[in-house]
Amino acid sequence: MVEVYLSTEGIVKTFPGVKALDNVSIELKMGRITALVGENGAGKSTLVKIISGVYQSDKGRIFVRGKEVNYRNSKEALLEHKIACVHQENTLIPEMTVVENFFLEIENRFYKWGLLSYPAMKKELKSFLKDININNIDIDLKAKYLKPNEIKLIEFAKSLYYNPNLLILDEVTAPLAEDEVKLVFNHMEHLKNSGKAVLFISHRLAEILRISDEVIILREGKVIKSLTGKEIERDQIISMMIGVDIKSHEYFPPKATKVSDKKILEIRNLKGNGVDVSFEVFEGEILALAGLGGQGMSQVLRMIYGILPREYGEFYLNGKRVKIRNPRDAIRCGIIYVSENRELEELFPNLSVKENISIPLFDRCNKAGVIIGSKLSKYVKDIIKSFSIKAPSLDVPITQLSGGNKQKVIIGRYICKEPKVLLLANPTEGLDIATKIEVYKILRNLANRGIGVVVLLSELSEVVNLPDRVLIMHSGRIIKELKKNEITEENILRGYFKEL
């Protein structure tokens, strides 16, 4: 019988408007690598933060080696229960050097005559990094100058330094190169073989299949199933994660039967930020920009909208050349951009739902600069109704809405401006399936009204089923165009990996 190092019982955690975790009970066994999988927003990171002591759960208990524990912060979990965690977020203090960051929690071990001894810290860190085979990182550098992979490696090294009984790795491998992933895996195997527990989170399914002994599947804050041994199998994990068969087309609205040949927007020689593209957008179509991460898709949208500086670019709207220097110009031309970073770039967190919707409407609801409340309210109510936005009241802060309703607010508020072209970056990121389906429908309706919808998509099933036309990007260029029947999973994947 394998010993359980940490177990949770009935963990519940609620954030304003969302139940992040609902009655979660898991067991993390010693000498096992347990993987935690689930879609974005399934509650993985919340669970990790509760186990590692960052958050306190609303309900439920945590046991370490069968004894109930209650730690108030992550330092207690780390030092008293040997639970080390590498969070998804960067936790290095940007203005401090690597050495200081490494020992920040336990700097008091390096006092010499009552003063911190940086030489002693450096010596210790150097020899430790050498022991665990992480080289080539300048430990005197301030953390803000580190590359993303170096940040993760240092945080990983830091968690190993405490000799943990339970090591939690939340998306550590995301920024790492192949050999660095191998290094991390070696250390995980080593911990496993010396009887420690490891909890591993990654969005790369291949890694999970390669290394884990047990897979826990989370969906919408609940544990769906825990798989072991031979049950760990790709298709089964995916379908459990999503909860529906991904191949089914019925979740997507029907594609346009007849695409107009009228160009609304033509983009010629858009250059800058490693991107060089030319393409056009037709009336009433959904055009997808697709590719592996970091191929310049989001730069294209942001350069068109004038948020990112560009070196060159000509824009023709209905055949007429227009100048777009900034988002103001773009909006005047009828081009609207919806950022993938809803919280930071779209919403005004301190303002109410009504105010958030109203902001683009002020110019048409005022008389001599004074806002006409009744007119504004009518517009807002129309938007709420036609996009079926669910809010407890129009006056609650926007932050209390769920992700899907926030997205509907964002898209909805611009529709009154009657845009000609809508640019969206990952519009369904972080939404649950039901809301995703609603967003698909909204986009299709907008296209049917004659708007050119340009959408950056990263999920394969969406790229296959949503758009009428797909542009595949690689290293900042468009390398392939797929139309209608050519849009198949295979063709897209071939494009991604440049097998033309």
Partner: protein, 319 residues
């Protein structure tokens, strides 16, 4: 050899550029008024600077955590008022000192609890406390007055053959202890960490609330010490006397390159900035220019140095 010397010079200057500014300003002053760079005049500069340095340390610690302590001036006033009152009542000196330090801790605790427990913005909390303290001072002593024990004044000034050695010693001690505390003690480092990013600090298990409380208590205590020393300087209890110290402390901290965004800034630069402010005042007095010019010069310097440090940071980022 010269290259490595240059390299170290550059490294030193990029960390402690305020010293370069100070030396240049001294040079300019010395050219205009040759008697500026004399030993006795430098004593005067230090003499002027010591109370300011102590409250600037308080302000610096608070600003490093993205906060503000507006109570500093009023607390100094209150302390001159209370100590003069108790001295009028002939209380023993040691008791007076203890009471005054306790007042500092109490005010700091009040600020700290409001900020860390109830999450009120530091600016608002300390603005409110400032008004309360002003009211109390004016209530106790509406007009300046009272006598300060001569023994106390002598104890602070420590005259050695007519020259006050006390303030100078204190300046050096505070500069060294403040620097060591912020750069070589865990608590000091945690102040930087929390100032840099509260979210990251929470992820790393640092008790942010506790630390903020400690920061304001420390600020109150340091201000109380500064207030006591200031009492020996002004030799009177005055309900309005501290106000200029508040603005001077904020000026010194920002002049020294501490960022209002938190987590960036080194105390030695603040010390140099304090000396610079002291030098300007002394210099203007020496060349017999009306003192009001001091404010114009300080203002220009503050804005110029803020723009300069922003420029330096961006230039570094490009490397």
């Amino acid at each position: 050899m010269p290259l490595s010397v240059l390299f170290h010079m550059r490294k030193f200057l990029s960390s402690y550029y305020m010293f370069a500014v100070l030396i240049i300003v001294w040079g300019v002053f010395a050219i205009i008024s040759p008697s500026f760079l004399t030993v006795s005049n430098m004593y005067r500069v230090m003499l002027f600077s010591t109370p300011l340095l102590i409250v600037s340390l308080a302000q610096n610690i608070v600003i490093l955590t993205k906060g503000f302590d507006l109570t500093i001036g009023s607390l100094v006033s209150l302390i001159t008022v209370i100590s003069s009152l108790l001295m009028d009542m002939k209380w023993p000196l040691i008791i007076i000192i203890l009471i005054v330090l306790m007042i500092g801790v109490l005010v700091g605790t009040f600020n700290g609890v409001c900020i860390s427990k109830f999450g009120v913005t530091p600016f608002i909390v300390t603005l409110g406390t400032m008004f309360m303290l002003d009211g109390i001072s004016l209530f106790i002593r509406p007009q300046p007055g009272g006598d300060i024990y001569p023994d106390f004044i002598n104890g602070v000034m420590l005259y050695v053959s007519g020259i006050p050695m006390g303030p100078m010693l204190m300046f050096v001690i505070v500069a060294i202890l403040g620097t060591l505390f912020l750069e070589r003690r865990c608590t000091g480092r945690l102040i930087y960490a929390v100032g840099c990013s509260e979210e990251k600090s929470i992820l790393r298990g640092i008790s942010v609330g506790q630390l903020l409380l400690m920061v304001y208590v420390l600020s109150g205590l340091l201000t109380a010490i500064g207030g006591l020393i200031y009492t020996a300087y002004v030799q009177v209890g005055d309900p309005n006397i501290g106000a200029p110290l508040l603005f001077a402390s904020i000026t010194a901290v920002f002049l020294g390159g501490t960022s209002a965004a938190g987590g960036v800034g080194r105390f030695p630069n603040t010390c140099a900035a304090v000396l610079l402010l002291g030098s300007i005042t002394t210099f203007l007095f020496q060349i017999q220019v009306i003192a009001w010019y001091k404010y114009i010069i300080n203002g220009v310097l503050l804005v110029a140095s803020a723009a300069f440090s922003k420029f330096m940071i961006e230039a570094k980022g490009r490397l």
